[in-house]
């Protein structure tokens, strides 16, 4: 076994609380499949037979019991649960499973949807005997209108500066705008070794990393690092050019170094043989001077930057909507599930997905939308550009556009919903004339968003009804989930 796959699926989805309020992020339906299916499928496609999944108890329970989130993967899943409220970072999680790690690891985040050729990343890892190789992609502009968001979203996240060498593969520099006081500071010694450095911004880190086993061991010794992306990767990138890890002397003094926790040594197994090979070989990774390949450095970080193709991290509502739009292109299954009952007198666009045991009635039109499992859509309903999750009931004559309807919601007769997010088990009832929901609003069973800062505009709840309709919180959402089969 060359690589062990580790899937990080314990994240809370803090940037899309509206959706993860009652469905854990790994299980959010994207194209009627749980989000976690995509990275698992990615791993399965390239031939992994076993994967360690780090997740929470809740997710584990739901995977094993809930039929709607059934993962049709043939790989052996080794589910490892961590405490949900322990506030563990990704590096903490990796440290947690250190005992299980026998070889180099491939760490994937559960919110990654990509059609990237994984071998590109792994090949970099292999070819250069790299310490770290990772995947990045050009950032995408989200074009779809996001519910509950008025106008353009500020680019709140700070830019990352990523420096690669002339070949575009070697990762030389990494810094976040937030950490920079004034301008980008790059050491001249790096410039001397790599005279051409491309500094790129506007890249998305796919959170897919190949890491040497020794890095995991290193993590075990350094408890202070808690996040892979935030701390470990920048640390490794920096360490590439520091002397202490490069001089062979220090390698011999590994023990001594291990004592000093701050100066670690990350060397691989077979280091000596590899070193010998490198010495005897005439191959070199650079030209222009006479120094050894890699300038004698032991630590090497590489990055594969995707120029085209799909690469999304589903960690915001906008990304979630975008992913749903693109997901059907990633797998070739019939758009309409065989067990769904679809009336012949309705219009279903080719870019829509209808889940299992759905009921779609007459004179319905569904375009560019995803309809979840066991959803009932009654007559004369128009659904465009929307995501309808599982077990939703849409009564007659509704018009739903650009919205997200979470599981088990009930949309009353004749509702007109545009660019809204309807929380799970929400009941939108006709009370009088056709209810018309305020455009671009969020409707939730709770009156206050758990993290108000997430919303650019706090959900206007309870909405002052111009033509009155009621919002009723049915049950506690989790109970709801369990009850409905």
């Amino acid at each position: 076994m060359e690589l062990q796959a580790v899937l990080m699926a314990a994240g809370g989805g803090s940037r899309m609380m509206d959706l993860t309020y009652n469905t854990p992020k790994p299980l959010l339906p994207v194209g009627n499949k749980p989000l976690i299916w995509y990275p698992l499928n990615l791993l399965e496609r390239v031939g992994f037979e076993e994967v360690i999944v780090i997740t929470t108890k809740e997710v584990q329970k739901m995977i094993s019991t809930d039929p709607k989130v059934k993962l049709d993967v043939k790989m052996k899943l080794d589910l490892v649960c961590i405490q949900e409220d322990a506030d563990m970072g990704t590096a903490d999680a990796l440290r947690h499973i250190q005992q299980k790690v026998k070889t180099d690891v491939l760490v994937v985040s559960c919110d990654l949807i990509t059609d990237a050729a994984l071998h590109e990343v792994v090949d970099l890892f292999r070819a250069h005997n790299a310490t770290l190789s990772m995947l990045m992609s050009k950032a995408h502009e989200f074009t779809e209108t996001v519910p509950g968001q008025k106008g353009k979203k500020k680019t709140g996240e700070q830019r990352d500066f990523v420096g690669v060498d002339g070949t575009g593969k070697r990762l030389l520099f990494m810094a976040n705008e937030a950490d920079l006081d004034e301008g980008v500071v790059i050491r001249k010694s790096i410039m001397r070794k790599h005279p051409r450095m491309h500094i790129k911004t506007g890249l998305v880190d796919a959170h897919l990393y190949c890491l040497k086993k020794s890095v995991v061991d290193f993590l075990a010794d350094n408890k202070s690092i808690s996040s892979i992306r935030g701390e470990l990767v920048p640390y490794l990138v920096r360490k590439q050019f520091s002397k202490s890890t490069n001089s062979p002397k220090v390698i011999d003094e590994t023990h001594q170094n291990l004592k000093k926790n701050d100066k670690i040594q990350i060397s691989s197994r077979d280091e000596e043989l590899l070193h010998l090979t490198q010495e005897r070989s005439c191959w070199n990774d650079h030209r222009g001077d006479m120094s050894d390949a890699y300038h004698g450095g032991r630590l090497r970080c590489y990055v594969h930057i995707m120029d085209e193709g799909i690469c999304y991290r589903v960690n915001t509502l906008a990304a979630y909507i975008e992913a749903n739009r693109l997901a059907p292109k990633l797998f070739d299954e019939p758009a309409v599930h065989p067990s769904a009952v679809v009336s012949e007198r309705c219009l279903i666009g080719a870019d829509s997905i209808i889940g299992a045991s759905c009921q779609i009635s007459d004179k319905t039109s569904i375009k560019r939308s995803t309809i979840g499992v066991s959803t009932t859509v009654r007559e004369k309903v128009k659904v465009t550009n929307s995501i309808i999750m599982h077990g939703v009931t849409i009564e007659e004559g509704c018009n739903i556009q650009g919205s997200v309807i979470c599981s088990n919601a009930v949309i009353g007769r004749g509702a007109d919903i545009k660019y809204c997010l309807v929380g799970s088990a929400q009941r939108i009832e006709p009370d009088g004339e056709n209810p018309k929901l305020q455009a671009r609003s969020l409707y939730f069973p709770y009156t206050q968003s758990p993290q108000p800062s997430i919303h650019p505009h706090p959900p206007p709840l309870p909405p002052t009804p111009p033509n009155s309709y009621k919002l009723k919180a049915q049950h506690s959402k989790r109970a709801q989930f369990k009850d409905s089969p």
Binding site: I186, M191, R192, P195, R196, H198, I199, S244, G288, D289
Partner: protein
């Protein structure tokens, strides 16, 4: 700027035609405005120094002519008459020359900025022009760059003001001038200097050829900004004001071709060799592009060139890359490699020349060895002299016999002290010059120990850099820049350096305090202000202070002190500075922090561990440290093996008990005294 821009806008068609018709112009600055080649350039302006037996300015003019420049303005300042004479005699001033050379001289030019301001004042340039120095050697075809530049200007309406020509060459390449180590941030798509775009490239593999294609605006901008002195000022100014003025600078990167500026002797050495190795083709020694009588030479294998009437003695070898000028005779059993020898030289027997650059009329006697050195016109090297690396024998110097010049020796007929008085009377007649130097000679005879028994000349010390800005100028061979001792050990370096500078400052303060007898209260005041300046916590202040004081003897007298010497010099210091300590060490925690600082230091200086007891004792006696604190530190503080061992070795405890007794005795005796 606006008026000219307006003119161009009048009609695109006509302006294009104008552009087509207008001859390409160039501004050649035949002065370096620095003294890097002193004392050689005292007798000859840099542009006329021979490189491969041809004056450097000829290379520049040939380069300009071959790119299609039809009108060149040569600006001279230092020794402008000589340059003028040279140019008038050269092929550039013949009526058939495709490149019309105008010579403009003024003693008032002090920088490139002055020259360009004059260009603007005299309204010399009408269109884009090429700006070069008189010491640029190049064969780069800039027509491509010129085209790009014009295209950009046409598209972007005069936004791009300058296109600088760069050549790709990896860091550490020998034709890269080490002082001129550029790092360029550019937009890789538009080839623009910038850092503002989403994606940019930082390049360290570029060699600045010092060839720039300028718009007429450049001259105007120099006029507008009268403080611009050099091209660097200009580039910086443009980039800083890019957003306001909207001017941009682009660069043109070429992969082939040769371009370098001879900015110091190191560069002279490498460019000269490159020339002989034919990197600057078609500007090769045998091409005789200056079209002068008798300059022709033959080219044979291993890049050996021989001028007319060269005689070579029996058994002499010209190994490779050797250029020998006309009428030069070489004795028997000589060994010559990588060297250039000028016209009318005589070289004796058994001479070894390696990377020697000998100009005209040089006499070298037998058994001489010369390595990587420059020997100027009329110099005489007597028997059995050895010139080690990077020696310079300026004009008419006589050296030897039987002498070995150490590395980097510069010998000139001018006395180094003459330099100060020369600026105004540069154009003394020969007689005066002789009389002048005779006066000097009388005062200061040649030192036979320096230049040999029959030698003539004065040694120029490389290290006579009294004033800071002259520091560079003095170093003929260029800075010996050791690649920085890679200052990249840890990422925390910046934070540490903060502490480090603070430490140095504290050290400086204490030192000054000691020298000038400053009262301790004032020292405290100074340290406090430093504390705020560097944003250091009180705890760190105390620890650093402790450290500085304890290290003070090492600082002053070297690290080789014996323990006895160390304590001997430290203990009085502790006494002097005890008020400073007392100011910072007040609470119980402070005592412990101070102790841990002491411990840390002695763990590092493990040869002096025995001194620790004495230090602690002294501090205790001076009431800097309290007894309880020391005891507490001793009993609890041991954090690792080493410190435990330290304590064990010391037997601190044992001594402590001794002190206690002592102090008790003291007290009791004091009491006793009082009682009496």
């Amino acid at each position: 700027m606006s008026s000219r821009g307006g003119k161009q806008k009048k009609g695109n068609v006509t302006s294009e035609q104008e552009e087509e018709e207008q001859p390409l112009q160039a501004v050649l600055v035949a002065d370096s405005f620095n003294r890097r080649f002193f004392p050689i350039s005292k007798d000859q302006p840099r542009a006329l120094l021979p490189l491969g037996n041809v004056a450097m300015i000829d290379y520049t003019l040939e380069f300009l002519t071959s790119t299609g420049v039809q009108e060149t303005f040569v600006f001279c300042c230092w020794m402008s008459n000589k340059i003028k004479d040279h140019l008038l005699k050269s092929k550039w001033c013949r009526p058939t020359s495709p490149n019309v050379v105008h010579i403009i001289t003024s003693d008032l030019y002090r920088s490139l900025g002055d020259v360009l301001r004059d260009v603007d004042a005299k309204n010399l340039v009408r269109n884009d022009f090429i700006l070069v120095y008189g010491d640029v050697v190049s064969n780069i075809d800039v027509s491509q760059a010129l085209q790009e530049h014009r295209h950009r200007r046409k598209v972007d309406k005069n936004i791009s003001v300058m296109t600088m020509v760069f050549k790709e060459s990896s860091p550490g390449h020998k034709t890269r001038c080490e002082e001129d180590d550029v790092i360029v941030a550019m937009d890789s798509k538009s080839k623009r200097f910038s850092m503002v775009t989403d994606e940019f490239e930082i390049r360290h593999d570029l060699l600045d050829c010092h060839i720039s294609i300028c718009s007429p605006q450049v001259a105007e901008l120099f006029t507008d900004n009268f403080d611009y002195q050099t091209r660097n000022d200009f580039v910086r100014g443009i980039l800083v004001n890019e957003e306001i003025l909207g001017n941009q600078i682009h660069l043109y990167v070429t992969q082939d071709g040769y371009g370098a500026r001879v900015s110091n002797l190191q560069m002279y050495d490498s460019v000269s060799l490159d020339m002989v190795r034919r990197w600057v083709y078609p500007l090769t020694p045998e091409a005789n592009f200056t079209d002068q009588q008798g300059q022709g030479c033959t080219h044979s294998r291993h890049n050996v060139y021989r001028g007319a009437e060269v005689s070579l003695g029996h058994g002499s070898q010209m190994e490779e890359n050797v250029l020998i000028g006309r009428d030069t005779s070489i004795g028997a059993n000589c060994h010559i490699s990588n060297s250039v020898i000028g016209n009318n030289c005589t070289i004796g027997d058994n001479v070894v020349l390696d990377r020697a650059h000998m100009w005209n009329n040089v006499h070298v006697s037998s058994n001489v060895e010369i390595h990587q050195s420059v020997v100027c016109d009329g110099a005489v090297v007597k028997e059995a002299v050895r010139l080690n690396k990077q020696c310079v024998l300026a004009y008419n110097v006589v050296i030897g016999p039987n002498l070995s010049l150490p590395e980097g020796t510069v010998v000139s007929m001018h006395h180094p002290e003459e330099e100060e008085e020369d600026d105004d009377d540069e154009f003394l007649s020969d007689d005066q010059e002789v009389g002048h130097s005779k006066d000097k000679t009388r005062q200061k005879a040649f030192n036979p120990a320096e230049v040999g028994p029959e030698g003539k000349g004065y040694i120029w010390k490389a290290s006579m850099n009294d004033t800071e800005d002259e520091e560079l100028a003095q170093c003929l061979w260029g800075l010996v820049l050791n690649p920085d001792p890679e200052s990249d050990s840890e990422s925390e370096a910046s934070e540490e350096s903060q502490d480090r500078t603070f430490q140095l400052e504290v050290l400086g303060t204490l030192q000054r305090g000691l020298e000038e007898n400053i009262v301790c209260d004032n020292l405290v005041l100074e340290i406090n202000s430093l504390k705020y300046a560097y944003n250091i916590t009180l705890k760190e202040v105390m620890q650093i202070l402790t450290r500085v004081v304890l290290e003070y003897p090492f600082q002053q007298q070297g690290t080789q002190l014996t323990t006895l010497q160390y304590t001997g010099s430290l203990l009085p210091l502790l006494k002097t500075w005890s008020p400073v300590f007392k100011n910072y060490i007040k609470r119980a925690q402070d005592h412990l922090d101070c102790l841990s600082a002491v411990e840390e230091l002695f763990l590092e200086q493990d040869t002096h561990q025995t001194a620790m007891v004495k230090v602690l004792m002294k501090m205790y006696q001076l009431e800097i440290l309290e007894e309880e604190a020391i005891l507490k530190w001793f009993s609890t503080g041991a954090t690792n093996d080493k410190s435990r061992q330290l304590r064990k070795n010391q037997g601190v405890m044992r001594r402590m008990s001794l002190w206690r007794k002592e102090s008790e005795e003291d007290e009791s005796s004091e009491e006793g005294e009082c009682g009496r």
